[in-house]
């Protein structure tokens, strides 16, 4: 950590007294070299953390991250920032557990304030059957080594007195509390990893769109970009939101359908919502940012889309669900909304795997849960690219699991594109 120590409270005060003229650019702006040991396509959260851990954990520093726009300009810069480890299935459990542990040490690791706030996540339930399912999930989380507490109605009321507990359709029976769940500052995560990777010698190359993937005799040899050809022995595709297009450059057809997920932010309000609250039956979840805005969202619009904006029926549905759950927010004014492009996989779980092309790796299919996965996704993708073996906690995120039947269907709804 010492070597990365650039930011501190003392430094902020000192720079404040000197007119903030002492701050330096956080990373270099290098020209792309003609050859690297490894290339990461995609300078979002997952791509940057992959590069960081390749350098940090595996000592591989002759790497470039190729980003078609600016670093952290995709879904890492626009999401609802929830961090949690409340998964049920073996295969998902250990991965998200590992990710949460990385989050807990991330600020010290990166010397970057990612504003990780473990304010507690509460998943509400509304029937006896749902209580049983949540108790089972909570037990699975505890068995994995994470935390879970089953709250009854009064337990929820003590924490969230402002909910409508007696809604006719979805009366609140209780909730599953995950105290280590919470939120983080989304783009700070990208910037922190970017700075850490740059410091270790990784070239972060922005405004560099990959336009082709060079393959010779079944092995990757490099890429074509808008800033020239770049050779490399290994290439990682980490471009959730555009995975199908980039994979198609290598002749691959992925089990991915891109969908739109909308989210909303209100004007800044005084602190009123202390936790992350998830109202699954209404497809609604909400938290309050440190700036005071209520950050909330719902379900997919449910049609294939790259528009990065949704349609009004889902906006209406989300607002209705919010009013059903907590009528007190009815006077808050929505400032803005956006729609993120989600890599939806048939079973709702991600892919971190080799491809049929030697030296070409892919990290994709994060569905609507990519943000919390950023640390472990980079950790595991780096391990895969460095060693050619899947990391222990990501070994079930196989590309071929749909063909082989080794599915990770966390929601239990089936493994087809129209079911998630």
């Amino acid at each position: 950590m010492g070597a990365d120590m650039r930011y501190s409270g003392l430094r902020v005060i000192a720079e404040g007294l000197r007119g903030n003229r002492g701050w330096k650019p956080v990373w270099r702006e290098p020209e792309p070299k003609s050859e690297y040991d490894m290339l990461i396509i995609g300078g979002g959260g997952h791509g940057l953390s992959t590069a960081y851990y390749l350098a940090k954990n595996h000592g591989i520093r002759n790497i470039a991250v190729l980003e078609k726009g600016y670093l952290g300009g995709g879904n890492i810069g626009r999401n609802t920032t929830i961090v949690r480890a409340n998964y049920f299935l073996p295969g998902n459990q250990e991965f998200y557990s590992h990710s949460l542990k990385l989050w807990e040490g991330l600020e010290a690791e990166l010397n970057y304030n990612v504003m990780h706030s473990q304010r507690g996540l509460i998943n509400l339930f509304h029937s006896d059957g749902q209580r049983d399912a949540f108790a089972r999930r909570g037990n699975a989380m505890i068995t994995q080594g994470d935390d879970a507490e089953l709250l009854d109605r009064d337990g929820v009321r003590a924490l969230l007195p402002y909910l409508d507990f007696d809604n006719t359709r979805f009366p609140i029976y209780g909730g599953l509390l995950h105290r280590r769940g919470g939120t983080a500052r989304h783009d700070a995560v990208a910037w922190g990893y970017a700075r850490g990777a740059d410091k270790r010698g990784v070239d972060l190359i922005q405004n560099c769109e990959v336009t082709g993937i060079d393959i010779s005799a079944g092995r990757v040899t490099g890429v074509q970009t808008t800033r020239g050809a770049i050779r490399a022995k290994k290439v990682g595709i980490v471009v959730a939101g555009r995975s199908s297009q980039v994979a198609a450059m290598a002749g691959l057809r992925l089990p991915i359908e891109s969908h739109i997920l909308q989210a909303f932010v209100t004007e800044g309000l005084k602190p009123v919502i202390d936790h992350v609250i998830s109202f699954g039956m209404g497809h609604f979840y909400i938290s309050q940012s440190d700036k005071g805005g209520l950050v909330f969202g719902g379900d997919l619009d449910f049609y294939a889309s790259y528009a990065a904006r949704g349609n009004l029926p889902m906006v209406e549905h989300v607002m209705e669900a919010g009013m059903t759950l907590m009528p007190m927010i009815g006077r808050a004014r929505v400032l803005r909304s956006w729609g993120g492009i989600m890599d939806m996989s048939p079973d709702g779980s991600p892919i971190i795997d080799r491809t049929p092309i030697e030296g070409l790796y892919i990290d994709c299919g994060w569905n609507y849960g990519g943000f919390k996965a950023v640390p472990a996704s980079g950790w595991c993708m780096a391990h895969l690219m460095a060693t050619d073996h899947p990391h222990e906690v990501a070994r079930r995120f196989r590309l071929d699991r749909f063909a082989s039947g080794h599915l990770l269907d966390e929601e239990g709804t089936g493994s087809q594109h129209n079911l998630h």
Binding site: R242, S244, Q245, A248, R253, L254, P255, I256, E257, S258, F302, Y303, A304, S305, Y306, A307, N311, P313, P346, F402, A403, S415, Q416, H417, N418
Partner: protein, 92 residues
């Protein structure tokens, strides 16, 4: 987004249920290999631009539709009944 049903006319998107890519019309035969089923169920072109997908006019005439859409602009380009599309040579 509004979709023009060939039977009912121009209707709100809420009347329709999305099913998925038109790949679902190309169901493999009984003897097809596992790879064909994997491709049918899971693998997608997933284009950013013109696409063909299946919608069900659930709150209208209950017809299955093949919709030509642009996934970037959300423009609906043309809509046909699945039965018409299939009558003209099977696959969409």
């Amino acid at each position: 987004m509004r979709i023009t049903c060939p039977l009912c006319g121009d209707r709100d998107r809420r009347e329709f249920t999305y099913y998925g890519a038109a790949d679902y019309l190309n169901r493999p035969g009984m003897g097809a290999p596992a790879e064909a089923w994997d491709a049918y169920l899971h693998l997608r072109d997933n284009p950013a631009g013109a696409t063909r997908d299946l919608w069900y006019h659930e709150m209208g005439c209950a017809a299955w539709l093949v919709v030509n859409r642009d996934t970037v602009s959300h423009a609906v380009l043309s809509v046909r009944l699945v039965t018409d599309a299939q009558a003209e040579g099977g696959a969409a």
